[in-house]
């Protein structure tokens, strides 16, 4: 799924270092040092980007242009140490995206790679969304669905644990939708119920105590754009009824107003509760949910997104490096901690942890202390046993014995020694445990 770049340069060292830079930017590099080798490479593989040197032992990189079908490939760029008016003119007449002169600024090369990578996305079948950092398998389905439905008028309901990036996704949907209006976000759970109607639909001057001037609600603010309503199941039931009417009619009435106003808005709703459970509990109206959810997109928790956690941490560090003009990086042991931690607060918790560690680290290496003093959920290993408060004593004994036996590879004498009991005690406990299991089996069958 990596985009491919061909680097044609007779300087082996430069080609290799440019190849390394391409790898860092997520490309699969193909290094070639002659026009003839380049011909073979482009026949074998469709390239997303070709970086062409002009003076080569057997010709010029420009020779390739007349020999290959450019429609099969992506961008072209010239990198030359001997610029001339003739070659620049040839480049202008050909579909060349950039003409770089050696020695070049690596930032120029990075820009070209990123541009080509972005353009290559549709051809390679991957889906990237503005502002969304994801490379894991589990994120493919939501990314794919968003890229398909964003340009349509379909309503989208985002569900996922707190901090999984629902607002980031909503913003990406808005950007891909091509809608001209603003993106406005509102958390229905963070607003006192008595103010919610006014914040959503606006109010007229004097419509209630304190309404000293007319106020446009978020629906009006997002006209022709997108309104993101987070924690929609926290909205009072009577407002849910009115919201459904607004969605059906496309018009709102400010609090205290006589007239309705047409407000073409796309609403994206979200909840960190399972919507079906919220409906069953009477927190979310079923009719409203189905109006809001032509498509329901589930955002997975960070703990199930594999190495996305590392990708995101590096992204946050790069943002901080850019802001503070520094070059800090994660220490290797932090990478292991990132992967092992459960991230109950998901991406929001990760961003906060990275920022905290970034600001507290004095050197260039960042060491992450996770959980802000809170113990990470215990993970049982081969030589540890974890119990939660409330586990019955008999169960504690049974699990301890089985775990120690497994640790001692089934050797009952060694297990007895480890536990500080007699071998007879181990045998008795195992016999009792087996008898209880068989009784349980019989009960299940009955």
């Amino acid at each position: 799924m990596f985009p491919h770049v061909m680097i044609l340069d007779d300087d082996v060292c430069f080609a290799r270092s440019a190849g390394e830079l391409a790898k860092v930017e997520g490309f699969q590099p193909h290094l070639v040092h002659t026009v003839s080798a380049a011909r073979d490479a482009v026949r074998r593989q469709s390239m997303d980007l070709m970086l062409l040197d002009l003076e080569l032992p057997d010709g010029s990189g420009l020779d390739l242009l007349s020999e290959i079908d450019l429609a099969d490939h992506g961008q072209l760029a010239i990198i030359t140490g001997n610029p001339s008016i003739e070659t620049a003119a040839s480049a202008v007449s050909a579909p060349i995206a950039d003409y770089l002169i050696k020695p070049l600024d690596p930032k120029q090369l990075i820009t070209i790679l990123r541009k080509a990578s972005h353009l290559s996305s549709p051809r390679t079948g991957t889906h990237s969304l503005p502002g969304v950092i994801a490379n894991s398998e589990i994120m493919r389905a939501p990314l794919h669905l968003v890229s398909r439905v964003a340009p349509s008028e379909a309503s989208i309901f985002l569900e996922g644990e707190t901090g999984t990036g629902k607002e980031v996704f909503a913003r990406a949907i808005h950007e891909l939708s091509g809608r001209k209006g603003r993106f406005v976000a509102m958390n229905c759970g963070a607003m006192p119920a008595e103010l919610l109607a006014s914040q959503l639909f606006g109010h007229e001057r004097g419509s209630f105590t304190g309404a000293v001037q007319r106020h446009a609600g978020v629906f009006e603010q997002a006209a022709h754009g997108t309104l993101f309503l987070d924690e929609v199941s926290e909205m009072p039931s009577d407002l849910q009824v009115y919201l459904l009417r607004v969605l059906e009619t496309g018009s709102i009435r400010r609090v205290g107003a006589d007239e309705e106003i047409q407000t073409p808005v796309r609403v994206i709703a979200a909840s960190n509760r399972d919507p079906m459970e919220a409906i069953a509990e009477g927190r979310l109206r079923e009719d409203l949910y189905y109006r809001l959810a032509d498509f329901t997109i589930s955002l997975p928790p960070l703990r199930s997104r594999g190495d996305d956690v590392v990708l995101l941490a590096r992204h946050f560090i790069e943002q901080l490096n850019e802001r503070y003009g520094l070059r800090k990086h994660l220490c290797p042991s932090s990478l292991q901690r990132l992967r092992a931690y459960a991230w109950p607060g998901n991406v929001r918790e990760l961003r906060s942890a990275v920022q905290r560690a970034y600001l507290l680290s004095s050197g260039e290496q960042i060491s992450l202390a996770l959980g802000r003093g809170r113990a990470a959920p215990p993970v049982e290993t081969d030589d540890t046993i974890t119990f939660t408060i409330g586990t019955p004593w008999a169960e504690l004994e049974r699990r301890t014995l089985l775990k120690v036996l497994a640790y001692c590879a089934g050797d009952k004498t060694a297990a007895a020694k480890t536990l500080g009991v007699s071998v007879r005690t181990v045998h008795n406990h195992l016999a009792r445990s087996r008898a209880e299991e068989m009784a349980g089996e019989r009960r299940r069958k009955a």
């Binding site: 060292c13 430069f14 830079l21 140490g81 001997n82 070049l104 560090i317």
Partner: protein, 67 residues
């Protein structure tokens, strides 16, 4: 083009390539270090020393003399 001009052109080409490699390799090393990939960064730093050596030799050599 005279031999001297050809030599100068080749010398400039070689210096350009060496400086180019140094710039790009330093950028790669910075990225690798930011990712915590220190072993790979060290490998490239060793290659970088070799390119610097090549550059040093080129700069000691008068630009008209190819070689």
């Amino acid at each position: 083009m005279t031999d001297v001009e050809t030599g100068q052109r080749q010398w400039l080409h070689d210096v350009n390539n060496a400086v180019n490699t140094i710039g790009v390799t330093v950028s790669v090393i910075n990225h690798l270090m930011a990712r915590g990939e220190f072993d790979h960064a060290k490998e490239l730093a060793a290659e970088l020393e070799a390119v610097c050596d090549r550059c040093r030799k080129l700069l000691r050599q008068p630009s008209g003399e190819s070689g």
